[in-house]
Amino acid sequence: MRKLLNALMTAVVALMAFTAVLALVLILVDLIAKGASSIDWAFFTKSPVPAGEAGGGVANAIVGTGIVVGMAGLIGLPIGIGAGLFLAEYGSGRLGFLVRFVADVLNGTPSIVIGIFAWTWMVKPVGRFSALAGSAALAILMIPMIARTTEEMVRLVPHSLREAALALGYPRWRTSLRVVARTALGGIVTGCLVGIARVAGETAPLLFTALGNLNFSTDVRHPMQTLSLQIYVYGTGPFEEWHRIAWAAALVLMALVLILAMVARWVTKQRYGRGR
C-alpha cells in the first residue's frame, strides 16, 4: 500500500512535470513548423515590402528590438542593480522596507499599465510616439525584477567575507563593490540576462510607446518597429503573407530569448562551478 501510494504520487508529479515541458516543446514545434520555411537570408536583411507584394523581411524589427531593448537595459540595469545593492546592504530600515514593497508591487503590475504610464509621461507631452518611450516602459518593467534578483544574490554572499574585508580596512562602499558585489557577480549577470529576456518579448507596453514602424528606422525619437509589435500587427492582419512572416518573426524572437536564457545558464555555471 505504501509502495503503491509512493508510485502513484511519483507518477502524478512526473506527469505534471511532463506537461510543463510539453508546453515549451509544443510551442517550439509549432513555431518551427509554421515559421522556419519563411526564414531565409532576406528575412534578416530586408525591410517589409508593401502589403500584397511577395518577399521582404523583418530587418527593421530585429534592429528595432535590439535598440529598444538595449536602451531599456542601459536605463534599467544600472538603476536595478544599484537598487538591489542598496536593498541588500542598507535595506534593513524603513526605507528598505518601502523600496522592497514598491518593487514587489511594480513586479506584479500588468505591463500594459506601465505602457499607459509611459504614454502619459513620454508620448502625450511630446505629441509623438517614440522608441525612447518604449525603452523607458521596458526599463520600468525591468528595474524591480533586477533589483530583487540582485538583492537575493548579494544576500547569498556570506557575512564572514564582508567582515574579512572590513577588518582589512576596506571602506564600506569598497567592501560592497569589490568583495560582495564581485562575489555575487555571476548571479547578478544571470538576473540581468533573464530580465532582458523577459522584456524583449513584451508587446503591450510598446503599443502605446514605440508604436511600430513599417520602415527601417534607427531614430529613437520616432516610432520604431520591434519583433513583438511586428508579430502583433502581422498576426492580426488580413494577409496570408503577413501571417507567414509573423510566424517566422515569432520563431526568431523565441530563439533570441532562448539564447539569452542559455547564456544566463552558462554564466551561472562559469561563476559557481569553479573550485567547488
Binding site: A167, L168, V179
Partner: protein
C-alpha cells in the same frame, strides 16, 4: 621574550565595556598586551571573548547594536577617540577569523594584495615583494609559489587559513588578532598555525581567542580568562595554568565547568 621594564607597551584596554544595545557582553575589562607577545583569551562559550577581540579593531561597532564604553589604547592613543578613523585603524590591526575567508573571486596573489591595495597604488615590483614576504611569513609560499594566480578556493582549508593570515599581515600591521583561527582545521593545520604564532610574535603583537586550553598553553606568553563578560584573571601563561589565583579559573582549567 622576557617581560621586563623595557617592554614597550603596545595595546591596553581600560575598563572596556562592550554592549549590544543595552546588554553588556563584556564588562569593564582592563588588560595590557605587551609588544611582541602572544596573549591568549580563554573562557567558556558566550563569555564575551570574541566580542572583546572585536573591540580591539573597532569591528564590534559594526555589529547590529554594538557600541563600547571605556578605552582601548594603541601606543597610548585611544582608538575610540573621535579623531581616529576606524577604517585607517583597521589597516594597522590585522584580523583572522574562525573560518577561512579568502575572497572567492580573487587569485591567491590578489587575496594577499587586497589589504595592500586599499592603502593606495604601489609599483608592481614592490607589490610582488610584499606579497611574497607575507606568504613566506605565513609559511605558505613554498606551497603556492607555482600557482600564485590560481583561485584561492583551490587551497585546502588549512592553506586558506594561512592565506588569510598572509592577507592580514601583508600590510604589516602592528597587532594581529586571531579569533579561534584553528576552530575549523584538522590537527596538522592547527599545528602549523600554532607554529606560526611563535614565528610571528617577533614581528607583531598577537591576541588569540581560543577554545582550546592546550593551545593557549602552547602558544601564549600571557593568558586571560573571561567568564560571563568579565575578566576573571590574567597573568603569565605558565603561572595561570599552574597556580591560578582565582577559584573560577582553576575550575575552568581543570575542566570542571565550561
Amino acid at each position: 621574550m622576557a617581560a621586563g621594564a623595557n617592554v614597550r607597551l603596545r595595546l591596553e584596554t581600560v575598563r572596556l565595556t562592550a554592549l549590544f544595545d543595552r546588554t553588556a557582553a563584556v564588562r569593564e575589562v582592563s588588560i595590557l598586551f605587551p609588544a611582541h607577545t602572544v596573549t591568549a583569551i580563554i573562557g567558556p562559550s558566550g563569555c564575551g571573548k570574541s566580542t572583546f577581540l572585536r573591540c580591539l579593531n573597532r569591528m564590534h561597532e559594526l555589529s547590529e547594536g554594538g557600541w563600547v564604553t571605556g578605552k582601548v589604547l594603541l601606543d597610548e592613543v585611544d582608538i575610540y577617540a573621535s579623531d581616529v578613523n576606524p577604517i585607517q585603524l583597521r589597516r594597522r590591526i590585522g584580523m583572522v577569523f574562525q573560518r577561512p575567508t579568502p575572497f572567492p573571486t580573487m587569485s591567491i596573489y590578489d587575496n594577499v594584495a587586497a589589504g595592500l591595495r586599499v592603502n593606495g597604488r604601489r609599483p608592481r615590483g614592490e607589490m610582488d615583494e610584499s606579497v611574497e614576504r607575507a606568504l613566506r611569513q605565513a609559511a605558505l609560499w613554498d606551497e603556492v609559489k607555482d600557482r600564485i594566480q590560481a583561485s584561492a578556493l583551490e587551497l585546502s582549508g588549512g592553506q586558506q587559513q594561512r592565506l588569510c593570515i598572509a592577507r592580514a599581515i601583508a600590510p604589516q600591521p602592528e597587532i594581529l588578532l586571531l579569533d579561534e583561527p584553528t576552530a575549523s582545521l584538522d590537527p596538522a593545520g592547527t599545528q602549523r598555525i600554532e607554529e606560526l604564532c611563535h614565528e610571528l610574535k617577533r614581528l607583531y603583537t598577537i591576541v588569540i581567542v581560543t577554545h582550546n586550553l592546550q593551545q593557549a598553553a602552547r602558544v601564549s606568553d600571557y593568558t586571560a580568562f573571561f567568564y560571563m563578560g568579565r575578566l576573571i584573571e590574567v597573568g603569565r601563561t605558565s603561572a595561570l595554568f599552574t597556580k591560578p589565583q582565582v577559584e573560577q579559573t582553576e575550575q575552568y582549567i581543570t575542566g570542571r565547568f565550561g
